[in-house]
């Protein structure tokens, strides 16, 4: 990959993360649903169980502090937004409420006997232990934002994608994808499809049972391949996430699908569902069924 390409990819990843957003009432009963939402999202974003636990605990501590101190017993609301930034998880909490100076929160002295410890500060300490970055921005007009970042425990296969191609018919191809499809390699998937298309292929089945993670860049690739097989102009991938919006959903169903997915993992399936791509790319349990449906 040329230097320009790698820069472009990086920019797309930054421009187009798939964001998971949910708002919660500022009451302590919401802590359990907040943890469930955060844990589930972190797993979807490619984090492992340690990442999910760290994110749940740090968000719980942050929310508890906001409910107790920033809302001052008034009913507020928080909005949580989670996304992936290359190898990092980002958790953002937006709320209106009282500000404070985080630098004035003392680090707890863990060697002090319990009885002599000041109450408080432990929540912030835990957040800082679990996250690589904890940053507050206070704005009375637009709301306060807490941003936490954590480097995910990604497997050695992160950034690694393997493609293998079968040609069951002159106009059909099955591409087995394993590893992760993300900003570093999604263009490779698009060029593979372009090569096949040039060889006369107009039906492509992506067999993704071995695909552990698909970022929004992977979704951009699905969109681009769909357009390619329809004979439409390929989207400029520079536009990143925005290209997904250019899909004309009304056309789906009018013509037979020419791209299908087979056997996605639950994690990839959920990402497709949340991105609304299931209308665009049909999913089949096996390759045979997919090829038959597209024949």
């Amino acid at each position: 990959m040329s230097e320009l390409d790698s820069l472009t990819c990086r920019r797309i990843v930054m421009l187009s993360p798939l964001r998971f957003v949910r708002a919660f009432d500022g009451s302590l009963e919401q802590l359990s649903p907040i943890r469930d939402f955060v844990g589930e999202t972190v797993r979807l974003l490619g984090g492992n169980e340690d990442d999910a636990f760290a994110a749940e605990l740090a968000t719980d501590e942050a929310a508890t502090n906001v409910f107790h101190h920033a809302f001052e017993n008034l009913r507020g609301r928080i909005t949580l937004t989670l996304w992936r930034q290359e190898n990092k998880l980002v958790i953002q909490m937006h709320y209106y409420g009282k500000s404070f100076d985080p630098s004035l929160i003392p680090e707890p002295d863990l060697k002090l006997p319990l009885a002599e410890r000041p109450i408080g500060g432990m929540g912030m300490y835990i957040m800082r232990q679990l996250m690589d970055e904890v940053r507050f921005e206070f704005d009375a007009v637009n709301g306060n934002v807490l941003t936490m970042r954590r480097i995910l425990n990604l497997s050695e296969r992160y950034g690694f994608m393997e493609l293998s191609v079968e040609r069951p018919a002159p106009d059909a191809a099955v591409v087995h994808i394993s590893g992760s499809v993300d900003g570093s390699n999604y263009k490779q998937l698009i060029s593979q499809a372009e090569t096949l298309h040039a060889e006369g292929v107009n039906r492509i089945v992506l067999e993704v049972s071995g695909c552990e993670y698909m970022s929004s860049s992977g979704l951009v690739a699905l969109n681009a391949i769909t357009k390619l097989l329809r004979g439409e102009r390929m989207p400029d991938t520079e536009d990143g996430w925005a290209v997904l919006k250019t899909l004309d959903d009304a056309r789906v169903g009018q013509s037979k699908a020419q791209l299908a997915l087979v056997n996605p993992t639950p994690r990839v399936d959920r990402v497709l569902d949340l991105a609304g791509l299931k209308n665009l790319v049909p999913i089949y349990p096996d390759t045979k069924a997919a090829l038959a449906a597209m024949a």
Partner: protein, 130 residues
């Protein structure tokens, strides 16, 4: 959260508080109040069974802190305790924990609570250790 109490007899009578459910800032008061009531009713040695607690936030630490303060040694020992904690040689003789899950243990370790709360993994051994 479900709480239940059993009594065990070792060298001394030991009260075991079994906790079931997550301990966060929504639920910790129920846990703390229940433990403090046991102490008010005369319990001198308390074992908290955390086997069925999948998750605990700093609110749980706050509750343990409160319970510990009720059971702490008399004023004349305070200096010795303080030195012992700093040296890593002191653990509370009257408040102990049983079988925390890996996640709860992580929270205890991260906050340094494992330095002076004895963490046991077997009920019989735990009771005998008081």
């Amino acid at each position: 959260m479900e709480l239940s109490v059993t009594k065990e007899q070792g060298r001394v009578p030991v009260t075991v508080l079994h906790v079931k459910g997550n301990i966060d800032s929504h639920s910790y008061e129920e846990f703390q109040t229940s433990a403090e009531k046991l102490l008010a009713d005369g319990a001198k040695d308390l074992l908290i069974d955390l086997h069925d607690v999948p998750y605990m936030s700093s609110a749980g630490l706050r509750a343990l802190n409160g319970i510990y303060n009720r059971l702490r040694p008399s004023a004349e020992d305070a200096h010795v305790v303080s030195q012992g904690v700093s040296a890593g040689t002191y653990k509370s003789p009257h408040l102990k924990l049983l079988s925390p899950s890996p996640r709860v243990l992580e929270t205890l370790k991260m906050s340094g609570f494992d330095m002076f709360l004895d963490i046991q993994s077997n009920l019989k051994t735990a009771v005998a250790s008081f």
